[in-house]
Symmetry: C2
Subunit: 392 residues, 2 copies
């Protein structure tokens, strides 16, 4: 029996393990240090009550013969697919009923969608980047090329016509940089993809953090995207579903390559390798899209964003370059004094008792950068801001 | 952008679509016909109350900041992994803590585990078979060879030393035939796999239907299995979780191929392409393994099995060959009078208003066979049995 040898080409990602080790070493030496963690990309506020109630009710339905649910529809229950359509409609995007597929979360679909594509495609990934885009393609033996995000292009690179890419990843608002593409910026990519029959995988996991109307929530706000883009989104950051697990993937019915419908291929993939998302969780997800659910989510996001704004403010005061901080839970800052990412990590940990994420963990272009998040508590973030103000 | 052309080699499975079409045609012509459906493989009894309560409670925890859960452990929460270990211990199998991975359901893992293996493996699949084994390998471009299940070997074929297989699927109790391997029968496969460093993918989805102590619930009851077998199981049939979605996969820590740990490869695969199972659902799943949960599940299974026993009894009376009917929810019968599977389907639908599943839909060797299930209600099954008694 032969193993998939591509796994051997994976870079062992010690990023978060190394962070955890350095922190535990520090805490062993300084057991009472008041450490504040601003490194995680995980939410901390509870679910909206309307979601909780919907899942309690759905759990009870599962305990009664008349309302019990067995296997559901592979692409998700119509009540949730319609709720997602309604959400898109709220920012002006009209989807078709069959465009929407419900998932266990964006990460699964970002990874599993690759089943539809041949091995000999060239994959274009921005650097710095969410490591999953690279690792899932390396596992499948695909060639990955990079396009540089950097201070000059505000970490929103434009297409390079000299690169002949087949599959293009775009994450906006971006993880880790917090940078957001404008419609014009995305239009360049849509045109590039349509011209060469490439495909865009658009990761919209952080769209709910956008408040500036200049920025699109969905790539389908851009003309031409329905013939070149798959959009993958999640309720993890929108509604605090990181531990509840639900997302959705949009594959427009008219998206074809090699004369085949990608929507139909994905349906075939999912009906063969998946059995749908829990009814209970789908009920909780549908509650997100009620007026009450949306209002509570907006309140939670405003809380995280106020944290992020406070972090950005101190950088503004000190004249430190950063991206994000506004339409994103992340602040991506240039480490002052030309410090390397890990040097700055050690400085913050040792001198300020603040834990963040070294930018070099997200790719070569992340060297010298550092990520802080607004997902902590207000109190802790306020203390962190005061400490940063003194140091920087 | 090039598509995965292996999808073009998939046989379009019209089995259940064709069944649905023939039924709706019949009902259009006979709108009041009292049709009884014994074709589905889906459960109909509600979840145990202890599961419902656990999920209600977990839903409420998600609505309170102090008990809210974000991202969980990739392999599942320790409370559920330990509960699964305890369940295995109850029939004498001692697993290691890290052997257990929690999943969204057996189908996902049966499919996704293939990511670990090279394309140029030879896959051995019994015929008749659950179509997912074949389709997932065809999608990945792997060569599939078959071994015949038939009346002579009681649909539990033994290894054929002339076939050089790398990956071997065994489903016991079997879907669709209901046949169950003895320990001795499985030992032949374990020895075959260990000798040639092949790998067994053991699908134990129906293990909870075994009552005869002569039959193993787990392949790890067989000596040598920890060095050659991955076991995939589900709460779908054990506890009625088809719409709730939770299962588990066992990869023994000592299972290695090419000097690599399959347990570690799977952990890497899951941490890259998956984000764990919902906390709420894992709490519901853990409740299955409480004394109260197990008692309720046993009661539900006894209900389905009594239905199955009634179906088997009428076949015994009429001297019709079948497998299953005892340690399985399925009865797999030889259509009387040498009828083909679809002929018998039409006969049952038209003359008895009973819907079953033609065996030919599960592979060439299924031709002339027919599957009935015990998942209907008692009342409907009793009526069906009376109708069958008159016809056969």
């Amino acid at each position: 029996m032969k193993l998939n040898k591509n796994f051997r080409n994976l870079q062992d990602s010690y990023l978060f393990a190394t962070i955890a080790n350095r922190l535990s070493d520090y805490l062993a030496a300084h057991p009472d240090a008041p450490v504040i963690k601003l490194g995680i990309g995980d939410v901390t506020l509870p679910l909206p009550q309307v979601c909780v109630q919907a899942m309690e009710e759905a759990s009870r339905e599962m305990g009664v013969k008349e309302t019990f649910k067995g296997y559901g529809d592979y692409p998700g229950y119509p009540f949730l697919r319609e709720a997602v359509r309604g959400y898109y409609r709220s920012y002006g995007v009209e989807l078709k009923a069959n465009d929407v597929f419900i998932s266990d979360g964006a990460k699964n679909d970002v990874a599993n969608i690759l089943d539809l594509f041949a091995q000999d495609n060239t994959v274009l990934v921005p650097d710095p980047v969410y490591p999953v885009y690279v690792d899932t393609n390396v596992m499948a033996g695909r060639k990955v090329v990079y396009i540089s995000g950097n201070a000059e292009n505000g970490f929103t690179p434009s297409p390079d016509p000299s690169i002949d890419a087949d599959i293009i990843y775009i994450c906006s608002p971006n993880n880790p940089t917090g940078a957001v593409y404008t419609k014009e910026g995305l239009k360049e990519w849509v045109d590039y993809a349509n011209e060469r029959q490439a495909l865009i995988l658009f990761d919209a996991a952080y769209e709910a953090f956008i408040e500036d109307p200049a920025y699109p929530h969905s790539i389908y706000e851009v003309e031409g995207a329905r013939t070149c883009a798959i959009e993958i989104c999640s309720l993890s950051k929108t509604a605090g579903f990181t531990g509840t697990r639900c997302g959705y993937t949009i594959i427009p019915e008219e998206l074809e390559r090699d004369g085949e419908s990608l929507n139909q291929l994905w349906l075939r993939r999912q009906s063969t390798k998946h059995n749908g998302v829990s009814y209970i969780i789908q009920r909780g997800a549908a509650a997100v899209f009620t007026p009450e659910g949306l209002a509570q989510c907006k309140e939670n996001i405003a809380y995280y964003k106020e944290n992020t704004r406070m972090l950005a403010k101190v950088l503004d005061e000190k004249g430190i370059f950063y991206t994000g901080g506004k339409n994103s839970p992340y602040v991506w800052l240039k480490a002052p004094g030309g410090k390397k990412s890990w040097e700055f990590f050690d400085l913050l940990l040792n001198d300020l008792n603040i834990v963040g994420t070294p930018g070099s963990g997200f790719g070569e272009n992340g060297e010298g950068y550092f990520r802080l998040t607004g997902f902590g508590s207000r109190e802790q973030t306020e203390i962190a801001v005061e400490r940063l103000r003194k140091l920087l």
